[in-house]
């Protein structure tokens, strides 16, 4: 019933990308996102496309599986495109009432679509190839320096990993309780707003009870193992950079430099506009 949430769920496979240090993937994703919003011209766009396709191929995640994630944001895509199409000022092509279709609008719409699609593909590639645990580990270690300015990095990472861990548990629990109440004749689908809200009580009460019970059990289990926060805590699988990670950083860096260079080449030397002309 609740199984259709596939956007960014870990996809188990054995690939170069899966094996990379999560810090590389986090930094890489950030760099890729920045590059998406800086680039100018078709040369850089082609580079960003090739780079993305290369990474997806390397990750061994089926292309169709990644693209499925786009379905969840299709509304946002359409709205953004429509806004750009009709509200960008410039050379008017056609006009319906207050809506003007402009050359610049078409360009902006295409550009924004590409950016959003690549942004979603890029970030979901990261979450698809990195387990939530690795992700929080990577964040904790990558942002350790922030502790000096008083940010409780370890605590935040711990909360994140617990929260992430609880999502599938609670989803499963919701599914189970829903079925159990449906077996007692509950009806979650029909009726007006008030009737439906009322029908949720038999679902929500047991769900909260169970969430609190689980939180309580977890707290006890952590106490019983002498958990006392991040100081002096060691890791079972400490993050260490390998040769592959260094190469990945190098590749990322070259990509980023290439993107800047190609953008500059297009605007300054070839005198091109934002996207194509």
């Amino acid at each position: 019933m609740l199984k259709d949430v596939t956007l960014g769920q870990y996809y188990p496979a054995d690939s170069v990308i899966h094996r990379l240090d999560p810090r590389v993937k986090l930094a890489g994703t950030l760099l890729y996102l920045i590059s998406l919003f800086l680039f100018q011209g078709p040369l850089a766009l082609a580079t960003a496309t090739v780079f993305l396709i290369l990474l997806i191929t390397l990750s061994k995640v089926p292309f169709s599986y990644i693209v499925k994630g786009l379905r969840t944001i299709i509304i946002i895509l359409i709205v953004t495109a429509a806004m750009n199409l009709f509200f960008t000022t410039g050379t008017v092509i056609v006009q319906f009432g207050i809506f003007k279709l402009t050359y610049e609008g078409i360009q902006m719409a295409i550009l924004m679509m590409i950016r959003l699609v690549y942004l979603i593909l890029g970030t979901s590639l990261m979450t698809l190839t990195t387990t939530p645990n690795q992700l929080t580990d990577g964040l904790e270690k990558g942002l350790r320096w922030m502790k000096k300015i008083g940010v409780p990095v370890h605590e935040i990472a711990m909360m994140m990993s617990i929260a992430l861990r609880f999502i599938p548990i609670l989803t499963e629990e919701t599914d189970k309780i829903m079925k159990a109440q449906m077996a007692r004749g509950a009806d979650f689908q029909s009726g007006g707003l008030i009737k439906r809200a009322k029908a949720m009580i038999p679902l929500l009460v047991p769900l909260f009870v169970s969430a609190f019970r689980r939180a309580n059990d977890l707290a006890m289990a952590m106490e019983a193992r002498c958990y006392h926060g991040g100081d002096g805590r060691t890791k079972m699988k400490p993050l260490r950079y390998t040769a592959a990670d260094r190469n990945a950083y190098l590749l990322l860096f070259s990509y980023f430099v290439a993107m800047i260079a190609l953008s500059l080449l297009w605007t300054k030397v070839l005198g091109g506009g934002k996207l194509f002309f």
Binding site: K179, Q181, G185
Partner: protein
């Protein structure tokens, strides 16, 4: 009146990396008044199968017929089916939500459209049927002991007066006494209320004592479907799929191999005792 399961297949998360074929080619006929045990290793598909029987899960392929009607027909009333085929989930106490035991047990009957009075009457009847002590009828269900909570949850399903009662591991996590009480109660319900009972269990000893027919599931398929005696005769094959026949089966087979002419069909300690005494005396 019966449930017919025809060529049933079910796949969890089809088309993703987490694809699992939980049921394959299941064919069953469940007749009125039968007491059936379903047993199988963890992950063999028992819970998945029983959730099909009241239409909570829709089969990937195959069909289910309740009293001759195809439950996947358009316009088939699944909500009514669910009140006729009562399903008690594993750890049913986790679904309690009301402020009092009485209100919680009345939830099912009220969903059936009964008024307050009738629902309460049903609740009292089913709470008595599960031997729930009257003095706790208006207590909060969250303040009861584990075994009591489970009785309340079973009563919640019984109160809908189902024709078929399915229990998914009703004794999981109970002590031996609580376990015997629940099973004895289920067995009584079946004889007094003339309902069909399907009992999912991990324990061969439990099912051997009560059921007339035993379905063994393995890897999503039905491995054996026969009387407990006939199934336990395959005790070597059962071991290969991680199940054990009741201990008395082993004793009887060992005795027979040692040359004592006992019949090996005994499945409970009492039967074994009678058999051995009859041979020795």
């Amino acid at each position: 009146m019966s449930i017919i399961v025809n060529e049933l297949n079910y796949i969890y998360n089809p088309g993703t990396a987490m694809e699992v074929q939980a049921l394959r080619d299941i064919n069953l006929e469940i007749k009125d008044g039968e007491f059936i045990g379903i047993i199988g290793h963890t992950g063999s598909g028992k819970s998945t199968l029983i959730q099909h029987l009241n239409g909570l899960i829709r089969a990937t392929s195959g069909g289910i017929f309740y009293n001759g009607a195809d439950i996947y027909d358009e316009g088939y009333d699944l909500r009514t089916l669910r009140t006729k085929v009562g399903l008690v989930f594993q750890y049913p106490e986790h679904q309690l939500f009301e402020t009092t035991v009485m209100a919680d047990v009345s939830y099912g009957p009220k969903n059936q459209g009964l008024d307050e009075k009738e629902a309460t009457l049903r609740a009292v009847g089913s709470l008595n049927a599960v031997h729930f002590p009257e003095k706790h009828f208006y207590d909060s269900p969250f303040e009861l002991s584990g075994g009591q909570k489970r009785r309340v949850a079973i009563a919640g399903v019984l109160a809908m007066k189902p024709e078929v009662l399915i229990l998914d591991e009703p004794t999981a996590g109970l002590d031996p006494q609580g376990r015997d009480e629940i099973l004895e109660m289920v067995s009584n319900l079946r004889s007094t209320q003339h309902i069909t009972v399907i009992l999912v269990s991990h324990s061969m000893e439990d099912v051997a004592r009560y059921v007339d027919r035993l379905i063994v599931m393995n890897g999503g398929g039905v491995m054996y479907d026969d009387t407990p005696q006939a199934v336990f005769a395959h005790y070597k094959e059962l071991e290969e799929v991680g199940l054990m026949a009741p201990q008395v089966t082993y004793v009887m087979h060992a005795l027979a191999e040692a040359g004592i002419p006992v019949r090996t069909g005994a499945t409970t300690v009492a039967e074994a005792k009678d058999e051995i005494l009859s041979v020795l005396c």
